[in-house]
Amino acid sequence: MRYYFSGELEKILEIEKNNDSFFMHSGDEKKEISLKEIGDDLFYKKGNQWKKVIPLVNPNSINIGSENYQIFRGFKPSGSGGGDFGSLVTQMPGKVVKILKKNGDEVKQGETLLILEAMKMENEIKAGIDGVIESINVSEGDNIESGHVMIELDIQE
């Protein structure tokens, strides 16, 4: 799964599960993060130290000091989406006019996934990669707030 953090900095982290650890890619860097469960808590290894993983409830955004980051889960589609970053997430409040795909569908980069009406305009939300639709979190006719994850795409192996 790929995560986009959008704020004063833009950061992309990609993470893969691997038995008792994760592989995390950040730019060209790839590292393995070991995990260990103790009691009810999970810890990950950072350098030589173990850090507790703090469970998060619906993290659509996160604060770091006075900075705020929107969190987008999934892949960044290109095309006439609702913005320049993570267009599977609404950039402004809108209404879902039509959903063109369903769960498990394979899609090609540039294919339209759904149509969103926002600011009195219809926007085609397109896939940014070749992939598989992992989940669709909206229905036709839904009015949604900005920051809502509409569709999650997974990369095609």
Binding site: M1, Y3, F5, L9, K11, L13, I15, K17, F22, M24, I33, L35, L42, Y44, K46, K51, K52, V53, I54, P55, L56, V57, N58, P59, S61, I62, N63, I64, G65, S66, E67, N68, I71, R73
Partner: protein, 471 residues
């Protein structure tokens, strides 16, 4: 004994704990916009206080009194804010045969009125800021008053406020220039050209004395220093005062002065007498807060006296845990950092949702009075303070060390908060030396030194990603 707690957040929790420990029944309330208020989980019974806005709920005196009567309540604790210093409410509560856990209505009235409280202070030989008695009609009179009290002086429009119609004069020439200017400002902004002269305290320290009293005794529970303030609200407090330091004469003098004032109004509960202290350690009465205060825990930590427990016992006519002033001694040092839902740089409130919350491994000597849980929404309807981190150590350096570690351990995710500002202040040399006045934030500007390290970014981003994959 059934005690109704008419408050929310951390103070409702603090009160419930004291009520429970005394073997009474803590009764909490919830309002329609906060049906899952965290403080309920500490109360034995929960009542609905119908309505959403504060005026329909926590400020609605008649609704609260009917709720109390319908539910066989004997005593009401107001906490701080809301109805805590409303003498009309106290009289209504008492008229219905209920007990108000707080001071008598008359003491609230006398201390709540600036002019009355100043007069009472003067009569009780409590120093107030020196200045003109009433208006000074001419420049010559202003000069003679200023010579008497000493420069610098503050020229104030009688009707002034909000920083308008006020000028500091460091000598006679400045006074001559400013006098007509402030007169004009007073006339144009407030329609009143009348002027007052008072001594200007350049680097004031905010020092306050805790009072604990019942019908028979008035004790002081030593002082607190609360000079780290933004927008006239405290964010860090400590006990004892670093500025008074080892000067036991000053300490004894300010504490005894506070008791004299409390005696003058027959004070009979927990309360606080606030002073400002000049650089030469002379001090002047500011006001008295006739309620339990936010920063009461640092006094509890350094004296071992549970103020809430004794405030309740006092109101119920029970014997307090101490029976003489000599039993009350200060030991060690305690610091409180107010954790607020606000931007650590602009210090403006930042409502939002707490997506993750963890105490980590708090060091020995740490107490955290708070109302935070993962998923809680902090709305703009209430004060942005969501918790109070309190450290205790054998001396100031130890208390600071423990606080720094506690701030490192505490994680609040998803909601902007001032943890990083507190960390910055606890590393700042003026604060570390105990050399700071109420102008600290304005002059030293620690908020501009708030720094996010690459480690902070990495830790938070990594946590988001890993916790996201575990669902």
């Amino acid at each position: 004994m059934r005690v109704l707690i008419i408050n929310r957040g951390e103070i409702a929790i603090r009160i419930a704990k004291a009520v429970n420990e005394l073997g009474f029944t803590s009764v909490g309330v919830w309002t329609d916009n906060e049906p899952k208020a965290f403080h309920l989980s500490y109360c034995k019974e929960w009542l609905r206080l119908e309505g959403s806005s504060n005026s329909e709920t926590y400020l609605n005196q008649d609704k609260i009194i009917s709720l109390a009567k319908e539910n066989n309540i004997q005593a009401i604790h107001p906490g701080y804010g809301f109805l805590a210093e409303n003498s009309g409410f106290v009289r209504k509560v008492e008229k219905e045969g209920l007990i108000f856990i707080g001071p008598n209505a008359e003491a609230i009235d006398l201390m709540g009125d600036k002019a009355k409280s100043k007069k009472i202070a003067k009569d009780a030989d409590v120093p107030t800021i020196p200045g003109s008695v009433g208006e000074v009609p001419t420049i010559d009179e202003a000069i003679s008053v200023s010579n008497e009290i000493g420069y610098p002086v503050l020229l104030k429009a009688v009707a002034g406020g909000g920083g308008k119609g006020m000028r500091v004069c460091f000598n006679e020439d400045e006074l001559k220039t400013n006098f007509p200017a402030v007169q004009r400002e007073g006339q144009s902004s407030f329609g009143n050209p009348g002027l007052l002269v008072e001594k200007y305290i350049q680097n004031p320290r905010h020092i306050e004395v805790q009072i604990l009293a019942d019908k028979n005794n008035i004790f002081h529970v030593y002082e607190r220093e609360c000079s780290v303030q933004r927008r006239h609200q405290k964010i860090i407090e400590e006990a004892p005062s670093a500025f008074i330091g080892n000067d036991q004469d000053v300490r004894e003098n300010i504490c005894k002065t506070a008791v004299r004032l409390a005696e003058a109004v027959n004070y009979d509960s927990a309360g606080t007498v606030e002073f400002i202290m000049d650089e030469d350690k002379s001090f002047y009465f500011l006001e008295m807060n006739t309620r339990i205060q936010v920063e009461h825990p640092i006094t509890e930590e350094t004296t071992g006296i549970d103020l809430l427990r004794n405030m309740i016992k006092s109101a119920l006519g029970q014997k307090m845990d101490i029976s003489s002033q000599e039993e009350i001694t200060q030991k060690g040092h305690s610091i409180e950092c107010r954790i607020c839902a606000e931007d650590p740089v602009s210090m403006l409130p930042a409502p939002g949702v707490v997506s993750g919350f963890d105490l980590g491994a708090m060091p020995q000597g740490i107490r955290f009075d708070h109302c935070i849980y993962p998923g809680i929404e902090i709305t703009p309807d209430f004060d942005p303070m969501i918790g109070k981190l309190i450290s205790f150590g054998i001396n100031r350096d130890v208390a600071i060390d423990k606080m720094k570690e506690a701030l490192n351990q505490l994680s609040i995710y998803g909601l902007k908060n001032n943890i990083l500002l507190h960390k910055t202040i606890l590393d700042e040399e003026n604060f570390l030396k105990g050399n700071y006045s109420t102008k600290y934030i304005e002059v030293v500007k620690p908020q501009e030194k708030v720094n996010i390290s690459s480690d902070d970014y990495e830790e938070i981003f990594t946590n988001v990603v890993i916790s996201g994959e575990l669902k």
